[in-house]
């Protein structure tokens, strides 16, 4: 039930870069905090979102070059971290570990779905040039509704499945490994700020690329 309710929060915020804005509402730090707040632990959701945001600071959020669904990473990491029964640190690290590939897969699925929708744009222009001007508003509403439902369904399904996986892993992982995940959570801010530092460094002096 949690997944479905929280999925609604995610789906609303996800419209930010799909239809409106972007006003940064679909950034991992915002989605993570919102998901955390919906589950009753906004600070942990914020930590999960900020960690994802800083680590992925150099990646484009939308458009053809988007390598990962950033909003999904922030949302899932927050959902799994807040809902886990284990210690806060271990759950946070494990959630981030699993949310990254989920976000990568979601970006691939998103590109595939958009390619199926390519004809929709031509269809709208054709209607428009035939004088049916209200098609723009209708198409916009339809498109937003379509992506809202898609975001809700994907988040709810992956969120529920991932919750089970996180739960099973936290119950069965050796204690020593859980302790190390707990320690790793303390290092997340350092790694995040280091990633941000490299981002600015690359802006000033792009790294050399070896040419074959």
């Amino acid at each position: 039930m949690n997944c479905l309710t929280v999925g609604l929060v995610y789906a609303v915020l996800n419209l930010d870069h799909i239809a409106v804005g972007p006003f940064l509402l679909s950034r991992p730090v915002v989605v993570g905090s919102a998901v955390g707040a919906a589950l009753g632990n906004a600070p942990l959701g914020f930590s999960a979102g900020l960690s994802a945001e800083l680590m992925l600071i150099s990646l484009p959020a939308s458009g053809p070059a988007a390598a990962v669904d950033l909003a999904l990473v922030g949302g899932l990491a927050a959902l799994w971290a807040v809902d886990a029964w284990a210690s806060r640190g271990a759950a946070l690290t494990l959630s981030l570990l699993l949310a990254m590939p989920a976000g990568w897969a979601a970006a691939r699925a998103d590109a595939w779905i958009r390619r199926q929708n390519d004809r929709m744009g031509d269809w709208i222009v054709e209607r428009l040039t035939r004088g049916r001007e209200r098609i723009l508003w209708k198409a916009l509403a339809f498109w937003s509704a379509l992506w809202f439902v898609k975001a809700w369904a994907v988040f709810s399904a992956v969120g529920c499945l991932g919750q089970r996986i996180v739960d099973v892993l936290l119950r069965h992982l050796p204690l020593r490994l859980l302790e190390s995940l707990d320690r790793a959570a303390d290092l997340l801010p350092i790694i995040g700020f280091s990633a941000a530092l490299v981002h600015f460094w690359n802006r000033l002096t792009p790294p050399r690329v070896d040419r074959a």
Partner: protein, 260 residues
């Protein structure tokens, strides 16, 4: 004279003069441009968002429905730019379309050429300024402010991040539309007068300094060797161009190291 099939002088003037754009039309374009990214597709990118944003202009300048449909067809091709700098192009094209409709001093090809020529450079400018520099810088600044505020840490970070960034972005959008409409193609000269690249470089230096300061403060406070190793490993990892998606794995490995 009235029996001849020629229009009276007053009628002729009425037919030639196209309706003028009003402030309300431009305000509509501005608000519609917030939906610029909707209906984005791989084939023609933001073409539908472009048409949607400019529709109030077309409706005003081309009252005849068939003529409006023809102009819409002209603008329906591939278009891709940054959503925040798009308003500059919307302003320029509104200016050109107005001149095209009113006195024919600009032809269809000139309008479409301006639209295409400006989209690439302004897309690169938007990526550099907003996504690569301003967004990360405001986030880091907001996070530092949040760390300084013990009690309201995450609230301060989120509020500063959203308010500051969106304030700048909305001002740039509104100013870009107004400047593009007022100056037409002259906006290119206007934009060249601003040392945007130099500002972006300074902002990147500031971001670099803030991150280095946070890391130094964290290192000083914790005096953790594993923390230093994790920071250096992240620097090397990302400078080599390896995927940031694997950074949680690096964190887990560092956590394992911390146990021993």
């Amino acid at each position: 004279m009235s029996g001849l099939p020629f229009p009276e002088a007053g009628d002729a003037v009425e037919r030639i003069a196209a309706p003028e754009l009003t402030r309300s039309d431009l305000i509509q374009v501005f608000f519609r441009s917030f939906l610029f990214q909707s209906l984005w597709s791989f084939q023609r990118m933001q073409n539908v968002g472009w048409l949607f944003s400019l529709w109030p202009v077309f409706r005003r300048l081309y009252p005849d429905k068939s003529e409006r449909a023809r102009v819409a067809q002209d603008h329906a091709g591939y278009f891709n730019t940054h959503p925040y700098t798009a308003d500059i192009i919307l302003g320029v094209v509104t200016n050109l379309e107005e001149r095209r409709a009113r006195d024919g001093s600009v032809d269809r090809e000139a309008v479409l050429a301006a639209r295409t020529a400006m989209s690439g450079p302004l897309s690169a400018l938007g990526e550099t300024v907003f996504w690569a520099t301003l967004g990360p810088l405001i986030l880091i600044g907001a996070a530092v402010a949040g760390m300084a505020s013990q009690r309201w840490g995450w609230q301060v970070t989120l509020a500063l991040y959203l308010v500051l960034f969106n304030f700048v972005h909305v001002v740039v959008k509104a100013g870009g539309l107004a400047a593009g409409y007022r100056k037409g193609l002259g906006v290119v000269v206007f934009l060249n007068q601003w040392p945007i690249q130099r500002w972006a470089a300074r902002a990147a230096w500031l971001g670099l300094g803030l991150c280095a300061g946070v890391l130094a403060a964290a290192g000083w406070k914790s005096r953790s060797l594993v923390g230093a190793v994790a920071a250096v490993a992240t620097l090397l990892w990302l400078r080599r161009g390896w995927s940031p998606l694997l950074l949680p794995v690096l964190a887990a490995a560092a956590g394992l190291l911390a146990l021993y």
